[in-house]
Symmetry: C2
Subunit: 285 residues, 2 copies
């Protein structure tokens, strides 16, 4: 049995707990809150469900103990930087870290890499939603006069997105002033954005999300090869499941002495799965 | 540069030639016809485009020379048997074989494995077509009274398929007799099948094909997670491209001393791709 520790116990930590409990090859080795001491824990793999920016520092503390780590670090532009930080530490402590293991970055990245292999020349568009954007929601909440907010991402195709921003105004706040401040914010200034005042943002909340990933490209010299990947999902449930699948992959890779840091495009899909190799090949290939 | 030899020069061999010529990291090391001597060839990777049943025997001759091999062996029920045959030979000769590397089995297998990881409980349906089935076409051509035939696979959903069989009758053949023989053939007896007499089968021929792969399942304890993968493609062009991408993966894995036999669900998507690791991660993750 793989001993899995959960570090951070918000929405994602809870989803990881659910997914780990349903995994036939895993046992929970402890759930640690944000401020708990994690410097001497007994686990094979730690799943980091802490805020993204703090994740690399948590990973370092666990790698020191030789524990494999998995996280869903989601700042696309900083992924190589985190790789360079953790890779030598993983190698020195003979362990494995899998980073950026959510659905995007994460499982979508595996699909993008596969489609690039199937049609090396072409364009891939990743269209998100409809679903809540955490980053945009936080940005809207930070605007003066906003009591509560929800920013929904609406896909318009070819990677272009509309932002639907639902806000509760603070008492006395002026809608037009707040709307102008949101539209001027760098998070919203580059997209088509609509601001709508509502009585209750909580009534609108929903963790549904989706992806429509499209590639048209060229295989060899043959054009018009068309590929599409769609999903409509409960967002934290999928993120938790991906983290648990990657915890399994990290465990297997460590057992094979493949030490170091990995993103999901560097993983073999079979390593994400529970089950005997021969049976998995029979069922899936 | 990876030196690639092509063994077998039918539709797939020609498609591999096109894909290898467009690959920036490959050079053609020779094209060998079915009966050419392949016992002393100079190549890093041999792509086997021979008839499926003969492929394992060709692989053995190349593995003996320490050459990596790639094939699109497509008899799903015999894949583990071929693994057991080739794996010890690959290890003894310090080389790599990637088998069942087409689009199904092949890239579809990678998608099926990924979706099983994203929602471990659930059902995946693979729907093929519209497109020509080689196996069914050959079976129809073998029926007495048939001069030429084309069997199209039409997806009806949930993995159920209709067979549209277009035939040219031989002079004096009776349509009703031929139709009854086709409907009774084991290839057709289990599916909804329609037989249609035409003047010219060649006029209908088209290498377009497609897949609609659907999974609805459970992530953690959350139901109604929905995933769909679609493609509409030129069949030999995609098969050729997959084989060339896997030739690259075999070359990289051999360089890392990961000797043995592999199916595509055991490959990391990044190994299929040309380019520098850091750049691929930046572009795709």
């Amino acid at each position: 049995m793989i001993k899995v520790a959960i570090i951070g116990y918000g929405n994602i930590g809870r989803a990881v707990e659910e997914a780990a409990k349903t995994a036939p090859d895993m046992v929970l080795a402890g759930i640690y809150h944000h401020n708990d001491n994690i410097d001497t824990i007994n686990a094979d793999v730690a799943v980091l469900c802490t805020p993204t920016r703090e994740t690399p520092a948590y990973a370092e503390r666990l790698i020191k103990q030789g524990i494999a780590t998995v996280d869903s670090f989601d700042i696309h532009t900083r992924i190589n930087e985190v790789r360079h930080l953790l890779d030598p530490q993983d190698k020195a402590n003979k362990t494995v870290s899998i980073i950026a293991a959510g659905w995007d970055p994460g499982s979508d990245s595996m699909v993008r890499a596969l489609l690039a292999a199937l049609a090396p020349q072409g364009i891939t568009y990743t269209n998100f939603g409809p679903g809540r954007s955490m980053g945009h929601t936080v940005a809207a909440k930070a605007i003066q006069g906003v009591r509560n907010a929800l920013s929904m991402t609406i896909p318009l195709g070819t990677g272009i997105h509309r932002r639907m921003v639902y806000i509760e105004l603070e008492d006395g706040a002026d809608f037009k002033t707040v709307e102008a401040a949101i539209l001027a914010d760098d998070y919203f200034a580059h997209d088509e954005t609509h601001v709508i005042a509502v009585q209750s943002v909580d009534e609108l909340n929903n963790v549904a999300h989706g992806v429509n990933l499209v590639r048209s490209g060229v295989s060899g010299t043959t054009h018009n090869q068309r590929f599409e990947f769609n999903m409509t999902i409960n967002n934290p449930a999928l993120t938790g499941q991906v983290l648990v699948a990657c915890a399994r992959a990290a465990y297997k890779m460590k057992a094979r002495e493949q030490y170091g840091v990995f993103t999901m495009i560097e993983l073999a899909p079979i390593d994400l799965l529970y089950g005997e190799k021969e049976q998995l090949i029979k069922a899936l290939v």
